[in-house]
Point group: C2
Chain length 152, copies 2
DNA sequence: TGTGAAAGGCATTCGAT
DNA sequence: ATCGAATGCCTTTCACA
């Protein structure tokens, strides 16, 4: 990825609503030039979309936890993500190397909600769980970009 | 939070670039009414900003890992997040309950980069680490919202 | 890839309800 | 709180280099 595109991605990762006009000023390109570059970045899948960042506390989901998941039956076909996808409290689902198979990042309102969620996770996917409660989040979602090489 | 605001937040969490016009159509409000509500949600801190979602692979950071961090000296004052903040590969930093003190979500380009990052984490914060490599990510960042209660 | 201009849409403000 | 209208700015497209 070229330096100019890199810059554009970086700026949009910080402020997804930057206008093409401002993006042009920031990069020294014309409005239509940045517009074209952004379109291409979207088509290539580098820019996968735009989202509002919601405060979890304000959204009524102040409790974050990490749930490590192990299948009860290691011989069963692994469709665990499919079995868990309907649980909307699961923010992210990672398949991991290590003792456990998956790590789930979840958001709930209360410890009671977490207890219920764990029961639903175990029931839906036939797994055991090990849960780590998040006490505070010094920072989150900084979306790092590679420094300056080409991946053309 | 009221039902209408909830809906607005949900829509913007999915598409942060939705126009107020479209938001109005989706909620049955006028453009200026949704505009005012969004402004208030931003002021209250419910909507914390807008970001472009960047594909990690395309951004040159295809390797994700979770690093559990334990202080070498439990008596030392805990300024670990401050000591780690400059490491831009760290996407998120969670303070957690459990055997370890923090869990870091990191993105790097290669296993070699991960090795270097671990050395920098240990040196910067005087900690030991336990690393879990992410093999694949069935999904990520769904930003769940509380279902339907009032938090006015 | 880049530019600049033209057209239409949208954000933003305001007075009224 | 909501609406509808008015004004600029912005997006989007197009002809051209």
């Amino acid at each position: 990825m070229e330096e100019l595109d890199h810059r554009i991605v970086q700026l949009l990762a910080q402020d997804g609503r930057l206008s093409y006009t401002d993006l042009g000023k920031a990069t020294g390109l014309s409005t239509s030039a940045v517009h074209q570059r952004v379109r291409r970045l979207e088509e290539r899948g580098v820019l996968r979309g735009y989202r509002a960042i919601v405060d979890h506390e304000a959204a009524g989901m102040p409790l974050t936890a990490l749930i490590s998941v192990t299948p009860v039956d290691p011989a069963a076909p692994d469709d665990i993500p499919d079995r868990l996808r309907h649980l909307t409290e699961i923010d992210s689902c990672f398949s991991v190397a290590g003792e456990e198979s998956y790590v789930l990042e979840v958001r709930v309102g209360t410890p009671g909600d977490l207890e219920l969620l764990l029961a639903r996770v175990r029931a839906a996917a036939n797994v055991t769980t090990r849960t780590t409660v998040v006490l505070s989040t010094p920072w989150e979602d900084r979306s790092p970009l590679a420094a300056g090489e080409s991946t053309a």
